[in-house]
């Protein structure tokens, strides 16, 4: 064009995109300020993280391949892919990402992680094992699936029992896997009561106490804290922080008290614990 516009115009006097003003601009995820400050600045890590953030499995495959040529597999996971997943958590938390985005990112993450694991040869040492289930009679498993996905992409071994899981099965799985933590999900008032039973059964078995996090639609903190071992989990990605805490030796009582500190953010449901 004959006129050089961009350098001179203060477009604010010519037009204003009110839709953008009231809805907020669509910014690229990597431009989000919370993401920006935690992004790995250097390659190949940046590209790995970006592939995850964009939920692009193909890109993740390429990036991992390239990275593995020069970088230790563990670094690929921890300094690259995982950082991407952290960004996704942040975006999900602030409402910029939605379920589909998170699931695609998880897929991309898994693609990379599996490649890295394969390269590693021997099984990568997991941070620990977690058992996850949806309460008996409850078909709502999306929340649980998210939890599993976050845990896996953060280096945990997860035994996923699925949905509508009889209480007895939960107990025997725990006996077998010896997890650092057990996650239960229930979305219905009529199914959440199963948590109570599971707690009692575990106690009865005298099993060394695993930690017990639960969340979901109808379930509220009061209810979860009404039985032993219960910790009310709020967001699916909190599960990883809770598991880390469990590995670090925190008990379910500590977790109830220190939830916001452990997950590292303000949590409405635990407002009284800040």
């Amino acid at each position: 064009m004959t006129l050089d516009w961009e350098s001179r115009e203060n477009t604010d006097f010519v037009y204003r995109r009110y839709n953008v003003i009231v809805e907020g601009p669509a910014i690229k995820p990597e431009d989000d300020k919370d993401v920006k400050k935690n992004m790995p600045p250097k390659e190949p890590f940046r590209e790995l993280a970006l592939a995850v953030i964009h939920g692009d499995s193909d890109r993740a495959r390429e990036a991992t391949k390239t990275a593995l040529a020069s970088t230790p597999p563990l670094d690929v996971i921890e300094k690259g892919l995982s950082k991407g997943m952290d960004a996704v958590s942040a975006l999900y938390a602030k409402g910029a990402y939605f379920l589909p985005d998170v699931m695609l990112s998880a897929d991309a993450m898994m693609v990379g992680m599996n490649m890295a694991d394969a390269k590693l040869g021997k099984a990568r040492e997991k941070k620990g094992t977690v058992v996850s289930f949806v309460a008996e009679g409850d078909p709502h498993d999306i929340g649980k699936n998210l939890v599993v996905m976050f845990l896996r992409s953060n280096g945990y071994e997860v035994v996923d029992l699925g949905r509508d899981v009889p209480n007895a099965d939960v107990v025997s799985a725990v006996k077998k896997a010896k997890p650092v933590m057990l996650t239960g999900t229930a979305l219905m008032t009529t199914t959440m009561t199963n948590f109570h039973h599971v707690s009692d059964m575990l106690k009865k078995e005298g099993i060394s106490l695993p930690i017990f996090g639960c969340g979901g639609g109808a379930v509220k903190r009061d209810f979860v804290e009404s039985y032993d071992m219960g910790v009310y989990g709020v967001k699916a990605f909190h599960a990883t922080k809770l598991a880390d805490a469990a590995v670090a030796g925190k008990t379910w009582k500590d977790m109830r008290k220190e939830y916001p500190k452990i997950v590292g953010e303000f949590v409405g449901e635990y407002a009284d614990r800040l």
């Binding site: 001179r8 203060n10 006097f13 010519v14 037009y15 995109r17 009110y18 003003i21 009231v22």
Partner: protein
């Protein structure tokens, strides 16, 4: 008690004058400024027929006008706009109507301002309901109601108050229908100026108590009536050169509001505003190619040249295929203002200004007069005799005559015989007029009171 009179121009040379830029910008609430480096679009819509049947209906009507205008502004991304409501009789006659309508519109604008951050302003133009033949212009119930209506509007959220007062109208009408230039000069230049002083001293005082600017006053009843009668190129009820003279005279009169303390933006239909701006540097509103709904002027582009607010003219409140008229016409003025603002922001404003001006400069003698360089000359003539309303009006007309004659001689402006003859005739009449205000008034007072039954000298302290 005298008032301040301009004896100097606000600008050193015509080229300093530019749309969107006034020497003395004005701020209004809701984040709006005038003449501060950008052009503000304006819209005004006449309340629907029948909406005057009750206060409630009128308030609703005004509210919906505001709502429709603001909605469109946001929909097409206008950064700012000014809504004007020209009072119908009842809004001035019953000051509480004026107040309530203002409040309703102010509330709408405030809501949009808060929600979208859009800059907006609300102008209330009171009606001049005074009639010379009904008790005169001063101190009657009509007169007092106007003052009260101004107060109600100012109090209820108007960002400025304007008017189109009618002082001198009786004599002007007589003159314009007979082609009597002396009557026109007396009506607009002398009587108009006297009444303006009366009217605007008071209006400025009232506004000063509120967060509301006294804007100014156009010579709609004078120079616009004449322009109207003159009509299109083929119209001949009044010569277009004569209309140009009336316009030049009106500048000397409209200036008075500013001398009384009005701040601008001067009202859009004052085609004389370019001249006034040259003198006092206040922001001005103008109308032209987006006022086709109401006027068939012959300078649709030219009037953009130094406008700070760009307006339509009162239009029926009804539906177009493109939506309700408040939105439609705001869109029209909004896009023109956007073009001007782009030019400002890209550093091409002076080019665009000149394109506007040149498009109409020689389409008609009225355009020749008002082209900003010529308007500047007329402004100079006015301030030379700035202290004397009569002499400065006369000087304005004579300079206008010179401007047109020169353009004609240079073969830039073509004139018909009718236009040239009447210009010459009027010029010789003007040249023959006395150089003393008092003598001129005496002469006129000998003639017109007996000829014009509606003329009421005491309305002017005469």
């Amino acid at each position: 008690m005298g008032i301040f009179r301009y004896t100097k121009l606000a600008y050193r040379e015509p080229d300093e004058m530019l749309f969107g830029h006034a020497k003395f910008p004005v701020s209004a609430h809701w984040g709006l400024q005038f003449g501060a480096g950008y052009v503000v679009p304006e819209v005004k819509v006449a309340p629907e027929a029948g909406s005057e049947r009750s206060k409630e209906v009128m308030v609703k009507e005004c509210e919906s006008i505001a709502e429709q205008a603001a909605g469109r502004a946001v929909d097409i991304g206008l950064p700012a706009f000014l809504l004007e409501q020209e009072h119908v009789y009842q809004q001035t006659h019953f000051p509480d109507w004026g107040g309530a309508c203002t409040r309703a519109q102010a509330d709408v604008l405030e809501r949009f301002h808060n929600e979208y951050g859009i800059k907006c302003g609300l102008r209330q133009t009171v009606g001049d309901t005074r009639l010379e033949e009904r008790g005169g212009l001063r101190g009657t119930d009509y007169d007092n109601e106007i003052a009260e209506s101004i107060e109600q509007c100012a109090k209820n959220g108007a960002s400025d108050i304007a008017a189109e007062t009618m002082g001198g109208k009786s004599v002007l009408d007589y003159g314009s229908m007979r082609g009597d230039i002396r009557a026109i000069l007396f009506g607009i230049g002398v009587l108009g100026s006297i009444d303006m002083e009366y009217f605007w001293k008071r209006a400025v005082r009232i506004c000063s108590h509120y967060n509301c600017n006294p804007a100014g006053d156009t010579n709609c009843s004078g120079a616009n009536s004449v322009m109207y009668i003159a009509g299109g190129l083929l119209g001949k009820d009044f010569s277009h050169t004569g209309a140009a003279l009336a316009r030049a005279i009106s500048a000397a009169r409209s200036l008075v509001a500013v001398e009384c303390g009005a701040t601008g933006p001067l009202k859009d239909c004052g085609y004389e505003n370019t001249i006034v701006k040259a003198i006092c540097g206040v922001p001005i509103a103008q109308e032209g190619k987006n006022a086709v709904c109401a006027h068939a002027d012959v300078m649709g582009n030219l009037t953009c040249q130094v406008a700070d607010v760009w307006s339509n003219e009162s239009v029926f409140h009804r539906e177009e295929m493109g939506g309700p008229t408040p939105g439609v016409w705001l869109q029209a003025t909004g896009y023109e203002a956007a073009l001007m603002n782009t030019a400002i922001q890209t550093g091409n404003a002076k080019i665009l200004r000149d394109l506007y001006t040149l498009t109409d400069k020689y389409r008609d003698p009225q355009g020749t007069l008002l082209a900003y360089d010529n308007a500047f000359r007329v402004a100079g003539a006015i301030v030379e005799y700035g202290k004397d309303p009569y002499l400065r009006a006369r000087a304005a007309a004579l300079e206008c005559s010179k401007v047109i004659t020169e353009a004609y001689d240079a073969k830039k402006l073509m004139l018909t015989r009718f236009e040239l003859d009447s210009l010459n005739k009027y010029t010789s009449v003007l040249e023959g007029l006395p150089m003393e205000s008092e003598r001129f008034i005496d002469e006129c007072m000998k003639e017109y009171p007996k000829r014009i039954p509606t003329f009421d000298p005491k309305s002017y302290g005469l």
